[in-house]
């Protein structure tokens, strides 16, 4: 797909609303004071979805070569994976 082709405004609005909903979900999990490995992994999964939505649909990387999308995904897997590892160590 050509990078010059704008994505529809309705689609961008839907992505924005999904990001808002996921942020509220993150906040509610924090307010509920829930802890543990399952909650930590859930929060990291929500964060990964949000970051990839921003990268692909706001930054526009979905229209670029696989390499650039892969860099953003690998970045999150490395950073998020190491964070998950550190939190798992803390729980042991």
């Amino acid at each position: 797909m050509d990078n010059a082709k704008p994505q529809s405004n309705l689609f961008s609005t839907v992505i924005w609303l999904v990001l808002v909903a996921l942020t509220i979900m993150t906040f509610c999990l924090g307010e509920a004071g829930m802890t543990g490995k399952g909650v930590m992994l859930t929060l990291l999964a929500i964060t990964m979805i949000k970051s990839q939505l921003v990268a692909n649909y706001f930054m526009g990387l979905r229209n670029t070569k696989l390499l650039w999308r892969a860099i953003m995904l690998v970045y999150f897997f490395i950073v998020g994976g190491l964070i998950a590892l550190a939190y798992t160590i803390a729980l042991m």
Binding site: M1, D2, N3, A4, K5, P6, Q7, N9, S12, T13, I15, W16, L19, V20, T23, I24, T26, F27, L29, G30, E31, T35, V39, M40, L43, L44, I46, T47, K50, S51, V54, A55, Y57, F58, M59, G60, L61, N63, T64, K65, W68, I71, Y75, F76, I78, V79, G80, L82, I83, L85, A86, Y87, I89, A90
Partner: protein, 205 residues
């Protein structure tokens, strides 16, 4: 020979739009090197925070509870909305609508300003409570991470300000919008990093 010919072959004049080929990163590639470098720097700090926490979980959890999750969540919504406005601004300029682009980007700029105000209130609350980077390891990470990010927000606002000014003067077009995309990419990076920072520092325990 005509100035637009080379060896008898007609050459179409090169414009900024043509520099952005199918499949390339949006905006200026050189700026993306800077964006990737910034992401790596933040990534190292995020991981360092997580491992420092693993060494002193009680301290980090107790200190984390002193942060305002509400402020953090509102700032996340503010940045996400600001990023959305930037997306609409880029869409507008791709249709050649300079004024609409400027309007959307002005909205993004104002929301960026709200983020700055909320963050300054948060920093002030910590300052008045005599909390500094040397208070403990949690606050060292919290203040350095959020201040480092804060500086990027300010830089993003300066970039947006320049783009808004140029767009108002009709400086972009449906064929020339690399500058808008470059600034937009930086602003989205600021949003992307906050999306990781918020749950890491404010929420996950």
């Amino acid at each position: 020979m005509d100035s637009s010919d080379i060896n008898g072959y007609p050459v179409k004049p090169l414009n900024m739009h043509q520099l952005n080929h199918k499949g390339d990163l949006p905006g200026d590639f050189a700026f993306w090197i800077f964006i990737f470098a910034e992401m790596i720097a933040f990534g190292v700090l995020f991981v360092a925070y997580a491992f420092a926490r693993a060494k002193n979980v009680e301290l980090f959890n107790a200190s984390q509870l002193t942060l305002s999750r509400t402020s953090g969540a509102i700032n996340t919504l503010v940045l996400i909305t600001s990023s959305y406005f930037v997306v609409r601004g880029v869409a507008a300029i791709k249709s050649g609508l300079n004024k609409q682009c400027a309007h959307w980007l002005t909205g993004a700029f104002l929301f960026g300003g709200i983020f700055v105000c909320i963050k300054m209130v948060e920093f002030n609350a910590k300052y008045t409570a005599d909390i500094t980077m040397s208070t403990n390891n949690f606050y060292m990470f919290y203040l350095s991470l959020t201040f480092f990010h804060f500086m990027h927000v300010l830089m993003g606002l300066v970039i947006l300000g320049f783009i808004i000014n140029k767009a108002r003067r009709g400086g972009y077009s449906a064929q020339n919008y690399v500058g808008v995309e470059t600034g937009a990419s930086f602003w989205h990076m600021v949003d992307f990093l906050w999306i990781i920072l918020f749950p890491l520092v404010y929420i996950i325990r």
